[in-house]
């Protein structure tokens, strides 16, 4: 913790960065994001198993980007990030939302976070997204902190559920997803929490013509969730914030994880891992499979 605060204060002092987007401790098992602009703010910075938020979501917000402009010059923003959050940052860079030199990544070696606040961190309470995680060390960073520790073992419930769904009949599957999507109240918390949902005018807010209805009913709920999963396919890095934010506990990770598996199997592509790899959407291979086509 001391290292982190010292580093943050140093960077601010040297005027290398305009602010640090980090976490502060609210209570014993709960953190909240903080934008630290002064040395005083930096004293509150923490990093532990309760740092659940994906801070990359702030990097595309206009008000946050404005902070970069300090006294006529443009400085970087620093962000304390778990390896999975860094995947989001890289994915954003792959989509021209920012350049590598615009962000100072304070990366942390991570052994997992808890699945929700106010629950003690143990094997069974490990967040679902941490279970299949393969990057405990950040892939990109400007500074790296934190010890390397073992991640507790736990069964991958999402994969199990996906496999369960895959053997259902089409009717059963539709029934299952309809019952889940019917819960949706169209609060769009999933959209707000997702770092990759940065569209200035989401397609569901487009009224002329109305492709996706934004009021809560089964038809609009089905198309909203399908289209969001589709727009994220090949891009979602599996931070799980959407599911955590959803007040109705809709299992969004099923859809996003299924698409990520598809991307890996069909195109050997995993999002947000490398700045040199071209994005999956927007590229093609002449030899892609034609299986679907008559």
């Amino acid at each position: 913790m001391e290292e982190l605060r010292k580093l943050a204060k140093e960077l601010l002092e040297k005027k290398e960065i305009a602010a640090v987007i980090g976490y502060r401790q609210i209570s014993a098992m709960r953190t909240k994001p903080i934008i630290a602009k002064t040395a005083e703010d930096c004293e509150q910075l923490v990093f532990n198993e309760y740092c659940l938020n994906n801070l990359a979501v702030y990097l595309t917000k206009a008000r946050i980007k404005e902070l970069k402009r300090v006294n006529g010059s443009v400085l970087k923003l620093a962000v304390t990030a778990k390896p999975c959050d860094i995947h989001s940052v890289i994915a954003l860079m792959q989509e021209s939302q920012m350049k590598r030199e615009d962000v100072y990544i304070i990366g942390f070696n991570c052994h997992g976070v808890v699945k929700d606040f106010d629950i003690a961190f143990r094997g069974e309470t490990l967040a679902q997204k941490c279970i299949p995680c393969e990057t405990h060390k950040p892939l990109y960073f400007d500074s790296i902190l934190g010890e390397v520790k073992e991640t507790p073992a736990a069964p991958d419930k999402v994969i199990e559920k996906i496999k369960e769904i895959e053997v259902m009949t089409a009717e059963q599957r539709f029934k299952y997803f309809k019952s889940e999507f019917d819960k949706c109240i169209k609060c769009f918390a999933c959209r707000a929490a997702c770092p990759l949902c940065y569209c200035q005018r989401c397609i569901t807010d487009k009224t002329i013509p109305r492709w996706i209805e934004s009021s809560p009913h089964s038809r609009g709920n089905y198309s909203w969730n399908i289209v969001r999963a589709f727009h994220l396919s090949g891009r979602c890095i599996g931070c799980g914030e959407c599911e955590r934010a959803c007040p109705m506990d809709i299992p969004l990770s099923l859809l996003n994880r299924k698409m990520a598996i598809e991307a890996k199997e069909a195109y050997s592509y995993v999002s947000g891992r490398s700045l040199e790899t071209p994005t999956l959407v927007g590229s093609y291979d002449v030899k892609d499979s034609d299986e679907l086509f008559m």
């Binding site: 769904i165 009913h217 198309s223 892609d288």
Partner: protein, 164 residues
């Protein structure tokens, strides 16, 4: 399946290949079922999955998406991008419970009039065997029950007025 069920099929086709292939089917006087209506776009790369969802909402029982063969796209690469896009969307729809025959894809070139006929006939027969798209009709009905719409067939409205 009800005996007199005639499926409603929408085909999104690219202007240069499949639409022209369908024209060729016409000039060759080949016959196929009347169930399919074509919506023309310039390139198969320009067909957004959102159209598919809207078409299902509007009562389509089955959808065909068709374009030029890979390497032959009039715009060089539109169908390559389409290919990847549909791979994901098709998986997603299947995963969430849409029968795989309801959304079908083909590459039909401008000289393949016969193939167009075969494709359309196959899709129509597949959907006829599957029956109406009950799942979507269900969520549609729940929607209209909550939010009663003006009738889709405005003819009725006009005729039931002074002109009845």
């Amino acid at each position: 399946m009800s005996e007199n069920f005639e499926p409603k099929i929408v085909a999104f086709v690219c202007n240069w290949c499949t639409y022209t292939g369908a024209d060729l089917a016409g000039t060759s006087r080949l016959k196929y079922p009347t169930n399919v209506k074509l919506i023309r776009v310039m390139c198969s790369g320009g067909i957004d999955p959102v159209f598919i969802l809207k078409a299902f909402e509007r009562g389509a029982d089955g959808i065909l998406v068709s374009g030029c063969h890979p390497n032959d796209c009039h715009y060089n690469a539109g169908n390559f991008h389409a290919r990847r896009r549909w791979e994901f969307f098709d998986e997603l729809l299947k995963f969430t419970g849409v029968e795989k025959e309801r959304l079908q894809f083909s590459w039909v070139s401008a000289s393949e009039g016969k193939k167009f006929v075969d494709v359309v006939t196959k899709v129509t027969n597949d959907i006829r065997a599957l029956g109406p798209f009950k799942s979507y009709k269900l969520i549609n009905e729940e929607f209209t029950a909550q939010f009663p719409e003006t009738p889709v067939n405005e003819n009725e409205v006009i005729l039931s007025g002074e002109n009845a």
